[in-house]
């Protein structure tokens, strides 16, 4: 069966987009890799107590109107004449290839943690801020006993307060930026102020100290993490003074990177976002440069769940209109998107990644954990004539392993002094050779 719209990604943007398009009378399929809708933001445990708030509302709007295809991981998308073919691997242990086709495609694939390498980041006990949050939200698991939260960005606060609220001993939150004048520059909506205040109060209640202008620049331990080196940083993130903090877990995150594998496969134009990382270029209706392909949420620029939901709604409506359905104009929605985008961009400007982190590396620090490439080998490849991160990859192999550069790609680009490039990953998810061999011969 051919759908009017296939939505990839079951987070706030994808759910809102599927709901809006289905409400307008389109046949919609919503594809997501996870077992349940919600994505990262609405991640929740199976059979938990009844959920309240926006998520059940969105879920109810999707349910019964759109076909939800959970546990469908998309490995590639291709154009087939007038249709867009979404090639999935369905199921968990005995996954099977399955292709879902639509006249239109909405990409709402979200973002993943942006990581920076530092000595010891490969030790057991070190995880991303997003990873710690996912454990807590999805499995109600507190990642450790004594936890340090570090990195940069507003996301560190909910992570730390969530962990503290769940009973963890949070030794401290270390925010690498200094955050002077943020409130003035970002001019947050009252709801955002209330949210931030809530986190701050939660941290205060659990006596979790918050340190701005400080970072974890090394992690230590033999078989697992035992302590970290915390440094006070100058404006460029060069260490000024260091001390040791004991902990068994470090949750570290330097913001987020949009997942662009699928839009890049389709040839959608990208542009450097406010923070330098590439984002999909869209018009006011969330249309990408490729006819029939739309993008919403973090893929168009990291901005959080509220903005993602608004973009999803707008995108769903645009698709409906482009397919000849009537939808009333929604100037209020467009205004809300502009306001939230301005706020998101102000936050990205307030929490930049400064170049000084490169000085935290020693020659032996792994830059790529999958292929175990130390910093020294990256320097050697540069010395051998590699001018850019692609050449570094060819000569020294960072990004060649399991994660395909999702973890180290940003750092390698920064080390080469270049702006991070849109990812070229024709295979977005590992696929068994047997399944690839069984792909049906003819395409309708």
């Amino acid at each position: 069966m051919t759908y009017d719209l296939v939505v990839i990604g079951g987070g706030p943007a994808g759910m809102a987009g599927a709901a809006a398009a289905a409400l307008a009378g389109l046949r919609v399929a919503l594809v997501d890799g996870g077992p349940r809708l919600g994505g990262q933001y609405f991640r929740h445990p199976h059979s938990a107590e009844p959920l309240r708030g926006r998520f059940p509302r969105l879920r109810a709007a999707v349910a019964g109107r759109a076909t939800v295809l959970a546990r469908h991981r998309v490995w590639t998308v291709q154009r087939e004449d007038d249709l867009l073919a979404v090639h999935c691997l369905a199921g968990e242990r005995d996954e099977r290839p399955r292709t879902v086709r639509g006249r239109r495609l909405l990409i709402a694939t979200g973002a993943h943690d942006r990581s920076l390498p530092f000595p010891g980041w490969d030790l057991p006990g070190v995880l991303t801020a997003g990873g710690a949050q996912a454990l807590l939200k999805g499995d109600r698991v507190v990642a450790g006993r004594r936890i340090v939260v570090a990195g940069t960005g507003p996301f560190l606060l909910p992570v730390a307060s969530g962990l503290a609220g769940a009973g963890a001993d949070v030794a401290g939150v270390y925010e690498a930026n200094r955050l002077t004048g943020i409130a003035r520059r970002a001019r947050p909506a009252p709801a955002k102020v209330a949210e931030a205040t809530g986190y701050a109060l939660e941290l205060l209640r659990h006596r979790v100290p918050f340190h701005a202008g400080q970072a974890v620049i090394a992690a230590h331990g033999d078989t697992g993490l035992t302590h970290v080196t915390v440094a006070r940083l100058d404006r460029d993130w060069r260490p000024l003074a260091t001390r040791t903090v004991e902990c068994d877990t470090l949750a570290v995150g330097y913001g987020f990177l949009p997942q662009l594998d699928l839009p890049v496969q389709l040839g959608c134009a990208t542009r450097p976002g406010v923070d330098g990382s590439p984002v999909v270029e869209v018009d006011a209706g969330l249309r990408t440069s490729v006819p029939g392909v739309y993008a919403a949420g973090e893929a168009t620029g990291v901005g959080g769940a509220d903005l993602a939901e608004v973009e999803g709604l707008l995108a769903g409506r645009t698709v409906a209109m482009d397919l000849g359905r009537t939808a009333r104009p929604a100037p209020a929605l467009a205004r809300r998107r502009r306001r939230l985008t301005a706020f998101a961009e102000a936050l990205l400007r307030a929490y930049p990644v400064r170049d000084g982190w490169r000085g935290w590396l020693s020659p032996g620090t792994l830059v790529c954990r999958c292929e175990e490439v130390p910093y020294a080998r990256v320097l050697e490849a540069r010395d051998l004539g590699a001018l850019d991160s692609r050449a570094i990859k060819l000569l020294a192999r960072p990004g060649m392993g399991w994660c395909q550069g999702r973890v180290c790609g940003y750092a390698v680009a920064c080390l080469m002094g270049e702006a991070p490039q849109p990812p070229r990953r024709p295979i977005a998810q590992p696929i068994r050779l047997g399944d690839l061999a069984d792909q049906p011969e003819e395409t309708p």
């Binding site: 291709q78 051998l384 004539g385 001018l387 050449a391 060819l394 696929i431 050779l433 690839l436 061999a437």
Partner: protein, 373 residues
């Protein structure tokens, strides 16, 4: 002023620079990208004698095979003398394979069907036999190119694009780049798939076209499953084919990093990088047919490159009479990694006026006279 400017820092350009420098010449290498950023960076690293029909290319491959073993002594890149196993699906193909092996007169062992598992324990059953070529080898081409440049120590100018030639009458007296003029006594065109564009700049066109190839890379395996380069007899006929449509015949091998590489599709579709599911499916099918155990192995990456293809499947090596001072070292199609050392060695001999020791006539650019304007 350098004695010679080499255009291109792929494996062929690196080999030309290395041997020219060793012959005492002062060498400058100009590369518009990074070292090994063109077809070399998309190569599998085949150093094959098994797939060559008897004739000039096989002679070149045999010379190269010896030279690669010498170069491997320099260190700094992976070189695995692992050998190649060509397998036959039917008795008829097996007879053709053994006939080819005899005609090639290179070191080989005819392998009976019941002996195949001794070579490759995980190979599919029901094959009609094969031929093992101990001289076939594998090299990590990117690092090899970088190391040859390091050892030859030419002046390396990366990120610099050749935009024209310096001329004195017909004679080529250097190159013009987007940054400078570089006068030199001789210029070597080692621009690979883009060598036709360079030749055009010199007013001496060459019929070099891109022939796309996809390579599949699997997840790293905990222990090696595949010991040699393994491929079916169809590979030999596909290499020599002139078809523009898709042809594929999987060459399957393990690498030191634990991944399995599956090459080699061949299509003439210009410089189009779009992933093609039919190509991936064909390669996956052939790999699983050869090694059923791979069905459960996951593919994590696929990439494509563009082989420099000449109508007669032979490289272009030698001086260009239309532009004295210009030498070509290009058009090696899918064999550039394997043939690079012999090419570099011969070019260095030509540049220094020494005996080449090999009949260069089949490789000379003159052979296209009449085909191009």
């Amino acid at each position: 002023m350098p004695d010679v400017v080499v255009i291109g820092a792929g494996v062929v350009g690196a080999a030309c620079a290395y041997y020219a420098a060793r012959a005492g010449l002062e060498v400058t290498v100009v590369e518009r990208g990074s070292v090994a950023s063109g077809t070399t960076g998309a190569g599998e690293g085949n150093v094959l004698v098994s797939d060559k029909e008897p004739g000039p290319e096989l002679d070149l491959a045999l010379l190269s095979n010896v030279l690669w073993r010498e170069l491997a002594e320099l260190g700094g890149f992976e070189f695995e003398a692992k050998g190649g196993l060509v397998v036959a699906e039917t008795g008829e193909v097996q007879r053709a394979l053994t006939g080819l092996a005899r005609a090639q007169a290179v070191e080989h062992e005819v392998v009976a069907p019941e002996d195949l598992p001794r070579y490759e324990p995980h190979l599919a059953t029901g094959l009609a036999g094969g031929v093992f070529y101990p001289q076939d080898a594998q090299v990590q081409p990117m690092l090899a190119a970088a190391r040859l440049l390091r050892h030859g120590a030419p002046e390396l100018r990366t990120g610099e694009t050749v935009t024209g030639f310096l001329r004195s009458g017909d004679r080529v007296t250097g190159v013009r780049t987007d940054r400078a003029e570089i006068p030199a006594a001789a210029v070597v065109n080692a621009a690979g798939t883009w060598a036709g564009e360079i030749a055009e700049l010199a007013g001496a066109p060459l019929p070099i076209l891109p022939r796309r190839g996809f390579v599949l890379v699997t997840e790293p395996l905990p222990e090696p499953l595949i010991r040699h380069k393994v491929y079916t007899a169809a590979y030999v006929t596909n290499v020599a084919s002139d078809s523009a449509g898709l042809e594929s015949s999987a060459v399957v091998e393990g690498t030191p990093s634990g991944t399995v590489l599956i090459g080699a599709s061949r299509e003439r579709v210009g410089f189009d990088r779009t992933l093609s599911i039919p190509v991936l499916r064909a390669l996956a099918r052939q790999a699983v047919e050869l090694f059923p155990v791979l069905a459960d192995t996951r593919l994590i990456r696929a990439y494509c490159g563009f082989r420099p293809y000449c109508p007669d499947h032979l490289p272009v090596i030698g001086p260009d009479p239309r532009a004295p001072g210009l030498y070509h070292a290009c058009g090696h199609e899918g064999a550039g990694i394997g043939l690079a050392p012999a090419t570099g060695h011969l070019v260095a001999r030509l540049l220094t006026g020494a005996e080449t020791g090999l009949d260069l006539r089949p490789f000379l650019p003159d052979r296209f006279a009449g085909e191009t304007s």
